[in-house]
Amino acid sequence: MARFPDRALAALFLCLLAPAAASAADPSPERMRELVRMVRQDCGSCHGLTLKGGLGPPLLPETLREKPAESLRYTVLLGRPGTPMPPWNAFMNEAEADWIVRQLIQGFPEETR
């Protein structure tokens, strides 16, 4: 199931790959809209459109606030082996994952139509 022999090693590898990305600026407004839609709709198929949880756990501020942002970032990018959570690193970079995590902790934006 695990795609990497060791998650920590994989995390380190990602850090080396994109050393500057972690502190990079926010995504462009257009990309933000795409990310919001991806989280609401595609993450929403397991976590719920309102992110209150489903087969996957809730992604609400009160459930995430206690967790270190860095571990949330790697959960998004690399998934959680042993659970249905897949890695999303083929669809976003580290800065974008960070932006998503920040939004989730603050209360995720609604889609604009």
Binding site: M1, Q41, S45, G48, L49, K52, G53, L55, G82, P87
Partner: protein, 392 residues
């Protein structure tokens, strides 16, 4: 002359006062997941008759029908259970029955509606008429550390004998609840059926219940005619020697992909449909497809099997010819195809394209695009013909 006029006037008046009588056999609903509404549709006219609003959070919502085909029971993510009168196009009754729910089924006798819940994990059974709670069956199990927990319930199906079969995602169990006495359910539990069952189906004849496993290769099978034999694992090694791809959406098993003595099942983490002989339950083939299958649905006559896919390959739909055992058509109905539904005898299929805000109707013989209906973020499409099918 005067009396004739009076009769005529009375006739006209009564025609105004009562709506035109019609059946519901060619009606259905489409879930509009972002707006918490359903569109009531007519599959003969290929048109939208109207909308019913106020159904709450409908992400991942599903619906089943009363046996007279008049009422849809819609299960929402927010735990809402809404009974929709599709003839009068209004909410007949609505309750919040759980914190988080994804589906349900109507009993064989039509008198019960059961909801499968994630939170709190379990099954609740209601009077189909009044939505009064009749039975609450928590999905309690003992976790590895000896602590009593409640599992998320998946794959609920109605099975003959006023029973419901379902699987416990967190516990790795299949339960069959006998509701012949609705207030005193009798539950038969099959333990250690496999790791993380994610959905289930019952075969069209109501004999076999199958739960797909996410945490390991294979599926768990219970012969409901011989429950004493227990659950057995089938296709236990379908992924052997190859690495699974990450799964961006859980497949769905519901939808009767049983055709011509074979079952067509989605392979988890693979771009394949698995083909199983339904007498021996041995794998007899694999059909390569465009992406990871989500719904694998047989046309009612069994000649074709239609497949849609998980993110990021969800712009396409493929059609398998069951005689040739291969893909014979690839269609692009629109962005983010979430669901498909056949008309009762299968001459047309309705497909929802969420991100293009439309439902597309195809002819299943010529693959011609017959109609496009504007629907806001459509997801599930449910026709009343489900009322007459075992499992729904």
């Amino acid at each position: 002359m005067k009396s004739l006029l009076t009769v005529l006037a009375a006739l006209l008046l009564s025609a105004c006062a009562s709506p035109v009588l019609r059946g519901t056999g060619d009606l259905g609903i489409v879930i509009e997941r972002a707006t918490g509404s359903v569109a009531v549709v007519d599959s003969s006219a290929k048109s939208i008759l109207g909308r019913v609003e106020g159904l709450g959070d409908l992400s991942h919502a599903s619906a089943v029908y009363s046996r007279d085909g008049r009422y849809a029971y819609v299960f929402g993510r927010d735990g809402g259970l809404t009974k929709v009168d599709i003839l009068e196009r209004r909410i007949a009754k609505r309750i919040i029955q759980a914190g988080n729910s994804i589906g349900g089924a109507v009993s064989q006798d039509g008198r019960l509606v059961a909801a499968q819940n994630y939170q709190p994990g379990g099954v609740k059974v209601f009077d189909a008429e009044t939505l009064e709670l009749l039975a609450d069956i928590p999905a309690a199990f003992e976790a590895g550390n000896g602590v009593r927990q409640f599992s998320k319930v998946v794959g609920l199906a109605d099975v003959p004998g006023n029973k419901f079969a379902y699987a416990l995602f967190d516990a790795g169990e299949i339960w069959i609840a006998d509701l012949s006495q609705p207030r005193e359910p009798k539950v038969t539990k099959f333990r250690n059926i496999g790791n993380q069952p994610y959905d289930g189906l019952v075969t069209p004849n109501g004999r076999h219940y199958i739960a797909g496993l996410f945490g390991e290769d294979g599926l768990a099978l219970v012969d409901l005619w011989k429950p004493e034999q227990g659950a057995k694992k089938i296709l236990a090694n379908y992924g052997k020697g190859t690495e699974k791809l990450p799964v961006f959406k859980m497949p769905h098993l519901r939808g009767w992909a049983v055709a011509g003595g074979r079952a067509y099942l989605p392979a988890i983490g693979k771009h394949e449909v698995l083909v199983v002989d339904t007498t021996t339950w041995q794998e007899v083939g694999r059909i390569p497809v465009k992406g990871q299958p989500v719904f694998v649905m047989a046309r009612p006559d069994g000649r074709q099997v239609w497949v849609n896919f998980a993110f990021p390959d969800y712009g396409q739909v493929q059609v398998i010819d069951t005689l040739e055992q291969k893909v014979v058509q690839t269609l692009a109905p629109g962005k983010a195809v979430l669901h498909m539904e056949f008309t009762p005898r299968g001459e047309h299929v309705w497909i929802s394209a969420r991100d293009d805000n439309r439902v597309v109707v195809y002819d299943t013989a010529s693959f011609a695009r017959l109609a496009e209906l504007p629907v806001q973020n459509p997801s599930g499409i449910f026709f009343t013909s489900r009322a007459a099918r075992i499992g729904f």
